[in-house]
């Protein structure tokens, strides 16, 4: 089972790990030809989410995260993470503070679906989707083995997906004009997304 309390702790843990790698994410952004601010952006997003005090249920908590994040964060992160959280909130059942394994899968499936409306990027495009798509798929596939196994599978897939972006050419976002020269470094957004899934697994 995933309790709301636990999920909040996981979000706090993710925030801590994200902040610890802030500089790294910005450097990755710059290294692959972006504008060198992904660390700043993702930390701003977690700072915003830290302010959320809503405690009613998954649906309302996730909605509150969505609103605060979209209001306070800027750049691609605002809309991408906004959609992701919005999708999860939409997929969450009403007034529930505990989710079983299938419900957790539904939640993350909902998030992926909504972010998929916001961006056309898919696996292979060197974006955060390279971490998020396999992570969500692995997490859902492991639903039969219980919630802890789901997050463990998600984290592994996210890390693997992010690593794989090294060999890719950017097709979306600011790095896309770099062409061949974007090959080499890991995509910044996929790295932070992998960090989030890893923190989730550790904190569970």
């Amino acid at each position: 089972m995933l309790t709301l309390q636990k999920f909040k702790e996981m979000m706090v843990a993710a925030g801590v790990d994200i902040r610890a790698s802030e500089k790294h994410f910005s450097e990755l952004d710059a290294a692959s030809g972006g504008d060198g601010d992904h660390g700043t952006a993702i930390v701003t997003a977690f700072n915003a989410m830290d302010k959320v005090t809503e405690a009613g249920c998954f649906k309302r908590y996730l909605k509150a995260l969505t609103d605060t994040l979209q209001n306070e964060a800027c750049g691609s992160t605002s809309t991408l993470y906004g959609s992701w959280l919005q999708g999860m909130s939409d997929a969450a059942p009403e007034k529930v503070t505990e989710l079983d394994a299938p419900a957790v899968a539904t939640l993350f499936k909902g998030g992926l679906e909504e972010i998929g409306f916001t961006t056309k990027a898919r696996v292979g495009d060197k974006t955060l989707m390279d971490a998020l798509i396999p992570a969500t798929e692995a997490l859902c596939a492991a639903a039969g083995s219980g919630v802890p196994a789901m997050f463990k599978a998600g984290a592994e897939a996210a890390q693997k997906g992010s690593e794989a972006t090294r060999a890719m050419r950017a097709k979306f976002g600011r790095a896309k004009n770099l062409g061949e020269r974007s090959i080499g470094p890991v995509d910044a957004g996929s790295a932070s997304m992998a960090t989030i899934f890893t923190s989730f697994a550790k904190a569970f």
Binding site: E22, K23, S26, E27, A30, G33, G34, D35, G36, D37, G39, T40, A41, T44, D67, L69, Q70, N71, E72, A73, C74, G75, S76, T77, S78, T79, L80, G82, S83, T118, T119, F172, G173, R174, A175, K176, N177, L178, G179, R181
Partner: protein, 333 residues
């Protein structure tokens, strides 16, 4: 190494810069809802409103072009980051009107995603708004899908043209048409010689070797593709104006406007030298240049480099360029 910038708390930069700009030009602009810059004296809401959005750190753009004959509002995000959709929606609500709104979005992932979301929400609320997306950076190619072309400084002359048309009371559809026509006839190419420092995290973006320059650099120091040894001003101008002429399709007898937009450390002295050569090459081909601009319009912090913007002008565009404008950084008497 300490960052060589005059700053306070890095997380307050956007707030402080918008306060400073609106304090300085208090006769022209004011700040509302924290991140929205509007005219000090709004124009009649019987006229179409022109709104644009974008990250900060590119001053004077975008907020410096709010004013009579230009923008009605600019929605600021944070340094190099587009505003989130909710803030943009707030601005669209402020300018909801029968006459409608034109939203100008520069083609960058963050800006597009925010705009798309805000436009969907605005539509649900019955706000009449048409979007013009600028995608005129030809660094990735001339004939590629426009979705692949970034929006650079070309948005600024676009603001001028549609801002003047809105001031004259033209309809939403008319403004959209002449704006899109202008939009499709302009092209931009950027060149950089040095990187720049991100003012919030102190990171250095786009380092270039000591003796190299890069044609095709993006609006935030994103790499382009055309690295070379440093060329002379004339060689650089020639190398840039040729593809711009090809992209815009200007030919003998056409009117055109040439803008050299400094992105930071490059001096106006250098921009004039470059302008002289590029304008000379246009004249050689029989293109008639109307008065242009050499100035910092849409900058990339303290990066050394400039954007060359070429706009092929139809006769109505030529007239609209001459109309009165009174924004802090584009003023026409």
């Amino acid at each position: 190494m300490a960052m060589k910038k005059f700053l306070n708390d890095p997380s307050n930069i956007t707030k402080e810069l918008l306060e400073g700009m609106t304090a300085c030009y208090s006769n022209k602009v004011k700040l509302v809802n924290e991140k929205i810059v509007v005219r000090a004296t709004p124009k009649c809401d019987c006229k179409v409103a022109i709104v644009s959005l974008g990250g900060t750190g590119h001053e004077p753009a975008i907020s410096g072009f709010v004013g009579e004959g230009m923008l009605d509002a600019s929605v600021a995000g944070d340094i190099f980051a587009a505003p989130g959709a909710p803030k943009l929606l707030e601005a669209l609500r402020l300018f909801k009107r029968e006459a409608g709104i034109i939203l100008v979005t520069l083609n960058h992932a963050g800006d597009r995603m925010s705009a798309n979301k805000a436009l969907r929400d605005a539509q649900k609320e019955g706000i009449k708004v048409m979007e013009i997306v600028t995608q005129e950076d030809i660094s990735a190619g001339i004939d590629i899908d426009p979705e692949e072309k970034r929006g650079l400084g070309g948005c600024i002359p676009l603001y001028k043209v549609i801002g003047a048309a809105a001031e004259q009371g033209k309809s939403l559809e008319e403004i959209y048409e002449l704006g899109q026509r202008f939009n499709k006839q302009m092209a931009t190419l950027a060149v950089a010689m040095t990187g720049c420092t991100h003012p919030q995290n102190g990171g250095v973006i786009a380092v270039l070797p000591e003796d190299e320059m890069e044609i095709g650099m993006g609006q935030h120091g994103e790499a382009g593709g055309g690295r070379s040894k440093i060329l002379t001003a004339d060689e650089t101008a020639a190398k840039m104006i040729a593809p711009l002429m090809q992209a815009t399709g200007v030919k003998a007898g056409d009117s055109a406007m040439l803008i050299v937009n400094g992105v930071g450390a490059t001096t106006l002295m250098e921009m004039f030298v470059v302008y002289r050569k590029a304008a000379g090459l246009l004249a050689e081909k029989g293109v008639k240049t109307v008065p242009g601009i050499c100035d910092e319009l849409l900058t990339v912090q303290e990066m050394a480099g400039f954007q060359m913007i070429l706009c092929k002008l139809d006769p109505d565009h030529v007239e609209l360029m001459k109309a009165t404008a009174n924004s802090p950084y584009w003023t026409v008497v």
